[in-house]
């Protein structure tokens, strides 16, 4: 783990306890998860007890305490997507990857998550793989797309 990087992130926020969430978001964005050592460093530097750090990082959905896969799949479960069949799309993705929302597969290829609205309701049902939005999905085609990822 790159401790210098974490230290730099903490310093960017002037070691302020009120910046806890912002610091954690930066670490999450950098490493795609929050390693235990990182939490301990933050706790020490900000003088915030580990119990509060655990409370905070488990409260907010943006944080992950386990490593994430190389590709992040976010299936939109917003209302517009829901009424257009997002549930069926999600099921086909679950079958194809063998994982459920919140999980990462054993070879760290995919992490599957559901999100509450990607805000491109005109394309619903929609999912995002890494930065790419894929819209107007039907179950079988959504699952087929996954073959394009290494």
């Amino acid at each position: 783990m790159d401790t210098a990087k974490i230290e730099q992130i903490i310093n960017n926020h002037h070691c302020e306890a009120s910046a806890l969430i912002q610091i954690m978001l930066d670490i999450q964005n950098e490493f795609h998860w929050l390693p235990a050592e990182a939490l301990e460093m933050v706790s020490e530097k900000l003088q915030v007890p580990m119990s509060r750090i655990q409370h905070t990082v488990t409260f907010y959905k943006a944080f992950s305490l386990v490593p994430k896969g190389r590709h992040g799949i976010d299936v939109c479960m917003g209302t517009a997507c829901h009424v257009r069949g997002a549930g069926r799309v999600l099921e086909s993705i679950e079958t194809a990857t063998g994982i459920r929302p919140g999980e990462t597969d054993a070879d760290l290829k995919f992490s599957l998550d559901t999100v509450n609205c990607l805000g491109c309701c005109a394309l619903g049902p929609v999912m995002r793989i890494d930065e790419e939005h894929l819209g107007k999905l039907v179950p079988d085609k959504a699952a087929a797309v996954l073959k394009n990822y290494e």
Partner: protein, 646 residues
Amino acid sequence: MPLIKSPAELEHLKQDILSKRNPDSPRISVCAGAGCLATGAGKVIAAFDAEIEKQGLTGQVHVKGTGCPGFCERGPIVVIDPEETCYLGVTARDVPAIVGKTIKEKHVIDRLVYTDPVTKEKAVRESDIPFYKNQERHIIGNNIKIDPKCIDDYLALGGYSALAKALFQMAPEQVVDEVRKSGLRGRGGGGFPTGIKWDAARNAPAETKYVVVNADEGDPGAFMDRAVLEGNPHSILEGLIIGAYAIGAHEGFVYVRQEYPLALENVSVAIEQAKEYGLLGSNILGSGFDFTVTVHRGAGAFVCGEETALLLSLEGKPGEPKSRPPYPATRGLWGKPTNINNVETWANVPLIINKGADWFNQFGTEKSKGTKIFSLVGKIKNTGLVEVPMGVSLRDIVYKIGGGIPGGKKFKAVQTGGPAGGCIPESHLDIAVDFDELTKAGAIMGSGGMIVMDEDTCMVDVARYFVNFLSQESCGKCSPCREGVKQMHRILANITEGKGTEGDIELLEDLAMSTGAASLCALGRSAPNPVLSTLRHFRHEYEAHIHDKKCPAYACKKLVSYYIDPEACTACLLCLKRCSVEAISGGRDKIHVIDQSKCTSCGTCFEVCPAHYGAVRRLSAEPVPGPIPEEQRILVKKKEAQRAAT
């Protein structure tokens, strides 16, 4: 960038920007909102840049990516000024023709303009398209004219002149008074009068006060705030600075959810640019008023849209709501008086200050003034953002602007107000959309989500969906919400899975009542709404699920089977190839049969079977006919049969 030290210098700068812009030279605006970007707007912009260079027009034509004008259904959207030619569904492949024909020769490309689906009439200019024609776009109307990363675009439209007016021509009390007189009510969901809120924060005795933009837009299916944040961030900042001046705050925060990366970027750029011009910082416009703004990223918690939770989150803590009073206006961020308003509320402020409360007052109904942006989504032809004066009928929004229901399906309901809102059936479609009328109909205005549902949407499933959402987003602090919502979800899930029993409806009503009455914050207090409103208008659907184990909309998978009618099947292989669990057997000349033990009821076969065959049937609460004998499955094609007969 020069520091602007007075209102006169601001006006001078505006004139300077305008004088450098030839109003007759072609300008290409491409919507770069999240919806259009998802359909390739980025590639379209790059293609324009390349094509303009290729056709030797560099420096003569200006291309910019702008905010979202709202017509997401037909994106990517391109508007070419000064003619205001509006092209829809543009791809990079269309770009050479647009530059060659429209820019150089001033010819309109017919296939890219709006065509009315019924009358086949074309609408070339943006303002002639029915989707826009029936709107009143005070807040999002400027989005297509502004490159959100360019403050000069905002200044050219008279941006920050309301700030200059407030700082130099109005006392803080007058600003509060004007907002109070305008009748502006909070656009985030509560609908509380903004002027009264400001007045409370202004009168709270404290040296330090804060102002906050609540940009934690979390309702699924709602993205109006994002469109303003991404498309016109300066309008929010200008409102915020005016509010800070009125209340007496010198520090402000914009709380943006991290799921909106482009909004975060554009707001941050806007703050930097405003600082460079001296519109933020110390001695703003030479008035002596100091104000700074910080952006705070939300980390993914729906409950943080609730103001006390949001303020705790700003302090770096878990966002668990507190009981009110004390209200943030007296004890908010770090215990100081804090005024917190939604994005759209702040964006209305410069308009009210510039044009006056009387101007603002002329739009809307008696108790709901101004316009409101709705995100019109779901089973609707024209998905997009719609800004209308309060009081427009729901029917007009759905049919005149939204274009009605696609695929020849029947309208069932509109769900307004987000997860805590309610469903409005056909019989109530003529109600005027404002805060009070929607509440009377059992729904709420909420932040402006409007989800249209058709005959294929199951209302019990919709209630289950929202209650599931709320149960997952409940912070768990108070037990009525934590346990009540969870139990409501358990009962609803059972009903949709065919496990509903007598008394479930009454139990739901009981739970709804106690959860609503005893919960700490708005999340729990309004969590029963989706259940109560669907029960009020669609009780028969609950009863069908419980008594007959039937889902009338064929949406609840556990209650629906699919069956291929051997008389209608033409053995075309379409469904067989698309079945992801290989539950369909058959062949080119062999009638297809669904193996019920393998079928997951995903419905793909039903959707792909061509309408003129209509061979795949949905069954609910009916036995599935057994497969026909193997020898009868061999299909003799019609022609062959005819040949054999002659």
